[in-house]
């Protein structure tokens, strides 16, 4: 009898081991337990956003660097005025909604050289330098974003929802863009700040383009 129990136990343990092994083999680097990837459309292309599936992967690009001279690369505060600060999951939800309901834009506020070296899929480049209050582009940009000029002031009731990011917590290009927009009267509830920016995005191995 005991022999029989022992034999069954060995078989059971073996089955568990095999299952665990295959479970480990099949383990994936998901975004959350429920989400492995999201798919977006950009310039008529379908882009799958997921994490790098190699769990031994290390960063060897610009974002593996820890120290940069400050100024200009100083650590940014968590909040800018009343603008809501968000993380990666909110960015992904925002990106998913870009396809479904529109009226939102993900803005990479870095200068174009940075943008060209890689950005978040779905983001458009609008350098913070073009958003300066007294700059020659701001009026046109506000108009494109849905603001209407009414005599000397702007009506922002129909403006787009913006999510703005730059290189990350050490880079104030996004903060500058947000401050400039607030200065011209863009409603803070229509702006979201992804403070982690490219650095956090790359740190968790999310797809870049």
């Amino acid at each position: 009898m005991n022999k029989k129990i022992k034999k069954v136990s060995i078989i059971a343990i073996s089955i568990i081991n095999i299952s665990m092994g295959s479970l480990l083999m099949a383990s994936e680097v998901n975004i959350t337990p429920e989400i492995d990837s999201i798919v977006i459309e950009q310039k008529n292309k379908t882009i799958k956003i997921e994490r790098i599936q190699d769990d031994k992967h290390r960063l060897n690009n610009n974002f593996s660097k820890t120290s940069r001279s400050c100024p200009p690369f100083c650590i940014q505060p968590m909040n800018i005025a009343n603008v809501k600060t968000v993380g990666e999951l909110e960015v992904l939800a925002f990106l998913k909604n870009l396809n479904e309901q529109s009226h939102s834009i993900l803005i990479d506020a870095r200068t174009s050289e940075w943008y060209r070296s890689g950005s978040i899929p779905g983001a458009i480049n609008l350098p913070f330098t073009m958003l300066k209050k007294d700059g020659k582009y701001i009026n046109k940009i506000l108009y494109i974003l849905g603001a209407n000029k009414k005599s000397s002031s702007w009506d922002f009731s129909n403006v787009q929802q913006l999510m703005i990011f730059s290189n990350g917590i050490w880079d104030k290009q996004a903060s500058e863009a947000i401050k400039s927009l607030l200065e011209v009267g863009y409603p803070s509830e229509n702006i979201l700040y992804y403070r982690g920016g490219m650095q956090s995005w790359c740190n968790v191995g999310l797809t870049t383009i």
């Binding site: 100024p71 200009p72 309901q101 529109s102 009226h103 834009i105 200068t111 174009s112 050289e113 060209r116 070296s117 458009i124 480049n125 609008l126 350098p127 330098t129 073009m130 300066k132 582009y137 046109k140 940009i141 494109i144 974003l145 849905g146 787009q160 104030k172 290009q173 500058e176």
Partner: protein, 288 residues
Amino acid sequence: MKNPIKTFIILSFFNSFLFADSINDLSLMVEEVNQEERHKKERLEELFEQRMLAQQMAKNALLLSLDYKTEFYKKELLTLAKRFDKGIKNLKDTESQRVKRLHKTWDNFYKNINIIMENYHNTMALKYITENNVLLLTDIDFILRKKIKSSQSSDSFTRKLQHENFMLFTQIDIPRSYIQKIIKEKLMIKKELNIIEYRGNLNITIFRLERLLKGFRDGDKTLELKGSGEQNFLQKLSIIDTLWRELKPLYQKEVLSTKEFEVMIKKSDEFMKKHLDVVKLSNRIIDQ
């Protein structure tokens, strides 16, 4: 009564058009700005090239006066002069006194180049070229500095942000000018023209060139160069370093044998070509 579902579909359709339009309009505007920036950069690159050409033309005239590979250097001098002339005509800032002066100097310089090409030993023409290439350089440098200043952002944060790349961009092509200058100085000494002055100049140019090369690699606070960690860039720079190690003793040697002279000219040309690769790569890295 309106059908709410139909209205919603129409609105969504309309919204997605608006969205696509916004994205396109913003992207077009940014592209326009980028185009403007690229244009400014190209104008600066043209002036960097002019600076180098001014040195190279004087060097070629001197080589011709020494009857050194005359067929080759005559043909090259003609090409260099045409390139310089084209570049000068691109300088639209005719209001500036400095640009006017540059045009005037160049007109006379070009005439003397034509004289040298007819008669390699015309001492007056050679004197004019070797003396006035410095005047050409001074004016180009002045215009260049003005253009560099105007191409920088008026916003201090943006300036700081772009400063490192900007310093590299404005200095990366200088070694090519220095190589031409060094050879001109060597040739002036060889022809026993203002020996003391040119010996002094030669040592300064060698020092400056060496310092720049080190600065590109390791950084230099005074030159405001940060150095580079880019493997491709460092690899190309190491080729330049090897060439420089071979060239420096030849530049410093008082009297060169015919063979050493040949090697110096050949290796200097190689340096020019290889450093142009460094310039191109550096500009590509900056643009990214």
